[in-house]
C-alpha cells in the first residue's frame, strides 16, 4: 500500500496492466516522452519503450479510429483524449464504430478499448477545459461509462476498464486529480494523502464495473453523485445536518440500479447532482429511473442540482460549479416537501 494521488493511482493502473499484458499500449497527445499534460502516463515511455507509450497527432478522430483498429487486431489500447472537451472529433468513431462493432459483426469483432478523458470544471479552464460530456456517452448503447472519485477506485476501475472486452469511456474528474475537493474553495487545499481512499495497493486489483458504492449511509435522503460531486455531496451531507445517504455511482452505464433503489426505498427522497448542463444530462436519466423504480416510496420530488444550461463561463466558474450550498438548498427542499 502507498498513499497516491488520483494521478499516481491512474499511472499505477497503467503500469500494472502494461507490466502484465504486452497487448496493452497507450497513446494520445503529449502522452509519450512528456507523460501527458496531467502526468498520468509519466515514465511509461521510459519504462516500456516508445512503441508502447507514444505521442499521437492532434486528431482525436485518428486516435480513436486507430485505437479501434488495434483493438480489433487483438490489442488492448488505452488512449487519452487530452480534455473531454476535445472528444467531439472522436465522437463518430466512438459512437458509430467502437460502440457498434461487436453488435454489427454478431460478436466476431470486438473492441476492448479504453478511452481516458479528464473532464469537469473547477480549474478556471473556461469553456473548453471544463466540460462534463458523460450524457453524450450514456445515451450510446454499446459503450460503458465509468467515473471514479478516489485514487483507490480510480486504479481499480481503470484496470477493470482495460481488462473489459467492451469499449469503456473512462472519465477522470480532473479537479480532484491532486486532492479531494468539496466545492469549498475558501477552505485550504487538501492533498489526497489526508484521505483514506488514497491508500492504494501497488499491484493488481479491480473494482467491478457496474457497482456503485454507498460512501455515506444515511436515513433522510439519498444523494446520487459521481466524480468530483461525490466530495461535494459528502460535504453537503456533513454541513447540512441532514442525514443523507451518499451514493457514488462509479459506473454510469450499466448503472447499479439495485443500490440506488435500495437507498431511495429507504429514504424516500432523492437529490441528483452533476456538473454537466442540466437539460438532457445524465441526471434526467437517473431521475426517470428513480421515479420508475421508487414511485410509491418517494415522499418528495426528485431534485437535480447541476451545471446550468450555458457554456462553462470562465470568470463565473464558481457560480456555475455545483457547490455544497446549492446542494444543501435542494436537500432542504426535498426534506421539507
Amino acid at each position: 500500500m502507498a498513499s497516491m494521488s488520483m494521478i499516481q493511482a491512474l499511472n499505477s493502473a497503467l503500469d500494472t496492466v502494461m507490466g502484465r499484458d504486452p497487448n496493452v499500449l497507450t497513446f494520445g497527445e503529449d502522452v509519450g516522452y512528456f507523460g501527458g499534460v496531467f502526468k498520468v502516463t509519466e515514465h511509461l515511455q521510459q519504462k516500456y519503450g516508445a512503441k508502447r507509450c507514444f505521442d499521437a497527432p492532434i486528431s482525436e478522430g485518428g486516435i480513436a479510429g486507430t485505437a479501434i483498429g488495434m483493438a480489433v487486431y487483438g490489442l488492448r489500447p488505452v488512449v487519452e483524449i487530452q480534455f473531454a472537451d476535445y472528444m467531439y472529433p472522436a465522437y463518430d468513431q466512438l459512437v458509430s464504430e467502437a460502440a457498434k462493432i461487436r453488435y454489427r459483426s454478431a460478436g466476431e469483432f470486438t473492441v476492448p478499448l479504453t478511452v481516458r478523458m479528464p473532464y469537469g470544471g473547477g480549474i478556471f479552464g473556461g469553456q473548453t477545459h471544463s466540460q462534463s460530456p458523460e450524457a453524450l456517452f450514456t445515451h450510446v448503447a454499446g459503450l460503458k461509462t465509468v467515473i471514479p472519485s478516489t485514487p483507490y477506485d480510480a486504479k481499480g476501475l481503470l484496470i477493470s476498464a482495460i481488462e473489459d472486452d467492451d469499449p469503456v469511456i473512462f472519465l477522470e474528474p480532473k479537479r480532484i486529480y491532486n486532492g479531494p475537493f468539496d466545492g469549498r474553495r475558501d477552505r485550504p487545499v487538501v492533498p489526497w494523502s489526508k484521505h483514506d481512499a488514497s491508500e492504494v495497493p501497488e499491484g493488481h486489483y479491480t473494482i467491478p464495473i457496474g457497482k456503485a458504492a454507498v460512501v455515506r449511509e444515511g436515513a433522510d435522503c439519498t444523494i446520487l453523485a459521481y466524480g468530483t460531486m461525490v466530495h461535494v455531496a459528502m460535504a453537503a451531507a456533513e454541513e447540512s445536518g441532514i442525514d443523507a445517504e451518499v451514493i457514488d455511482l462509479r459506473t454510469l452505464v450499466p448503472v447499479d440500479i439495485e443500490t440506488i433503489v435500495k437507498s431511495v426505498s429507504k429514504t424516500g427522497r432523492c437529490v441528483i447532482v452533476h456538473e454537466a448542463t442540466r437539460t438532457s444530462g445524465y441526471g434526467g436519466e437517473l431521475s426517470a429511473l428513480v421515479q420508475e423504480h421508487c414511485f410509491y416510496q418517494l415522499e418528495a420530488p426528485i431534485e437535480r442540482v447541476t451545471g446550468y444550461d450555458t457554456p462553462y463561463p470562465h470568470a463565473l466558474e464558481w457560480e456555475y460549479f455545483p457547490t455544497p450550498p446549492r446542494l444543501i438548498k435542494a436537500m432542504r427542499r426535498v426534506m421539507e416537501a
Binding site: 499521437a56 478522430g61 486507430t66 479501434i68 487486431y73 461487436r102
Partner: protein, 415 residues
C-alpha cells in the same frame, strides 16, 4: 442584411460551383482526358523514396492495351490458370450482383449495391494480397469475398437477413463481416474504416506480425476527416497499410469534381503526407494486381503505406434506392474510355490463346447457374420478409454480457 447583399463592385468575388460536363440529355463527354499508353509507366523499386514517386499521382499505370496485350514493366506475369481464376471471380461477382439486384427489386430484401464495372479493383486486390492480410472495405468490394472464396450462400443469407445470416439479421444487406475471410465488418458510415485499417496495421507492426492491412474508400468519401487522419497516422507511424481510393467518378449523384477531382487527382492527396501515390487504371486487372502487389511488398518491407487511386466508372446505380438516369447521361458508362474490366481480361486471355469466346460464354453461364442454384438454396432458408430472427437475439452482442437494463428490456419486449 446589407453585409450579405454586399457591394457588387467590378472586381467582385464570385462563387464557383463545379458541374459535370454532361447531364441527362447531353452527350457523354470524356474528351480532353488523356492517359499514358499501356506499358509506358516505369516501375520503381519498392524502396524508392516517396518523394521520387510524386508524379505517379498524375499518370495512370496501365498494363493491358485495348487489344488485350500486357505491356511494360508493371505486367505481373501471371499464369493463364491464375488469370482464368481471376476472370471467373469477376464473372461470378457480376452474376451475383445481377441476381441480388433483381432479388431486391422482387422484394426479397430491402437493399442492394452492385459493383458493376469495378470488379477488377476488388478481385485483383483479393488475389494479390495474402489470404490473411486484413481488408477494411467499403460497400462495393464484394469481389474481395468472392476472390477469397467466401461462401456465396453466406453472402446471400446476409442479404436476406435469414435464419443463417451470419450477422443475425442485424445489418443492412451487403454489410458483410467475416473474420475468417479477413474482411472487416462494413460500416454504413463512410470512411470510418480507414483509420481503423491504419490502427490494425500499426498493431500488426507493434506485434512483429507479418500481416498487412488494406482499406477501400470511394472518391466521394475521401472528403471525410477520417481519410485525413488515416493518411496522417499511416505516414507518421509508417503503418503497413494500403489505402485504396476507388474513383468511380460518382458519389451517388455528385460527380467527382464535388470531391475535389476538378483540381487534381485523388492519388495526389498522398503527396501531402509523403505517402507514395499510385494512380492505376481500375479496369485493368493486371495493372491493379501489379500495383497492389508492389504496395504490399513495400508495406511488408517496413517501408510504410501506399495510396492507390483506382480510376474507374460506376456502371450501375449507386444502390437499389438510386436512379442514375436522373443525373447523368444514360449511356455514359458505355462511353467510358477505359472499357470493361471483364472484357479486357478476357481479351488478354484470348490473345494469349488461353481462352475463347465459347469458353467465356460457358463460364458466364456457369457463374449465372452457380448464383441461381445458390440463390435457390438461400431462399429456401428464407428471405427478409419472413422475419427469421428471435426478438430476444436483438439484445445480444451489444456488450459481451447482457447488462441488467438490456435483460429487462428483453423481458419486457416479449410480454
Amino acid at each position: 442584411m446589407d453585409q450579405a447583399s454586399g457591394p457588387r463592385r467590378s472586381n467582385a468575388l464570385s462563387l464557383h460551383v463545379p458541374a459535370p460536363r454532361a447531364r441527362p440529355g447531353d452527350k457523354p463527354d470524356f474528351s480532353g482526358w488523356s492517359f499514358p499508353e499501356p506499358g509506358a509507366t516505369p516501375k520503381p523499386d519498392i524502396d524508392a523514396p516517396a518523394f521520387e514517386l510524386r508524379d505517379y499521382a498524375y499518370g495512370l499505370i496501365r498494363v493491358l492495351d485495348m487489344e488485350g496485350n500486357a505491356l511494360g514493366p508493371w505486367a505481373p506475369h501471371l499464369s493463364p490458370d491464375f488469370m482464368r481464376r481471376a476472370l471467373n471471380h469477376m464473372l461470378l461477382t457480376r452474376a451475383f450482383d445481377e441476381r441480388m439486384h433483381r432479388a431486391q427489386r422482387q422484394g426479397k430484401t430491402s437493399f442492394y449495391m452492385q459493383s458493376l464495372g469495378e470488379e477488377a479493383i476488388s478481385v485483383a486486390a483479393g488475389m494479390a494480397l495474402s489470404p490473411d492480410d486484413m481488408c477494411f472495405p467499403s460497400y462495393r468490394q464484394q469481389g474481395l469475398l468472392i476472390a477469397r472464396d467466401y461462401p456465396l450462400i453466406d453472402m446471400m443469407h446476409q442479404i436476406y437477413s435469414n435464419a443463417r445470416d451470419p450477422l443475425k439479421g442485424r445489418q443492412l444487406p451487403i454489410m458483410y463481416s467475416s473474420k475468417q475471410a479477413g474482411f472487416f465488418t462494413i460500416s454504413g458510415n463512410l470512411a470510418t474504416q480507414l483509420p481503423q485499417a491504419v490502427g490494425w496495421a500499426m498493431a500488426s507492426a507493434y506485434s512483429g506480425d507479418v500481416r498487412i492491412a488494406a482499406a477501400w474508400v470511394g472518391d466521394g468519401a475521401t472528403a471525410e476527416g477520417d481519410f485525413h487522419s488515416a493518411l496522417t497516422f499511416a505516414a507518421v507511424y509508417r503503418a503497413p497499410v494500403i489505402i485504396n481510393v476507388t474513383n468511380n467518378q460518382w458519389a451517388i449523384s455528385s460527380f467527382q469534381g464535388i470531391a475535389g477531382g476538378e483540381n487534381t487527382t485523388f492519388a495526389a492527396r498522398g503527396i501531402g503526407y509523403g505517402v507514395p501515390p499510385l494512380r492505376v487504371d481500375g479496369n485493368d486487372f493486371l495493372a491493379v494486381y501489379a500495383v497492389t502487389q508492389w504496395a504490399a511488398e513495400r508495406a511488408r518491407a517496413n517501408l510504410g503505406p501506399t495510396l492507390i487511386e483506382h480510376f474507374s466508372y460506376r456502371g450501375g446505380p449507386h444502390s437499389t434506392s438510386d436512379d442514375p438516369a436522373r443525373y447523368r447521361p444514360a449511356d455514359e458508362y458505355s462511353c467510358w474510355p477505359l472499357g470493361d474490366p471483364i472484357a479486357r481480361l478476357k481479351q488478354h486471355l484470348i490473345s494469349l490463346g488461353e481462352w475463347s469466346e465459347e469458353q467465356h460464354r460457358a463460364a458466364q453461364e456457369e457463374a449465372a447457374e452457380t448464383v441461381r442454384a445458390t440463390g435457390r438454396e438461400a431462399e429456401k432458408v428464407g428471405t427478409l420478409a419472413e422475419g427469421a430472427h428471435a426478438r430476444a437475439s436483438m439484445f445480444d452482442d451489444v456488450y459481451k454480457d447482457v447488462p441488467w437494463h438490456l435483460r429487462q428490456q428483453r423481458d419486457e419486449s416479449g410480454s
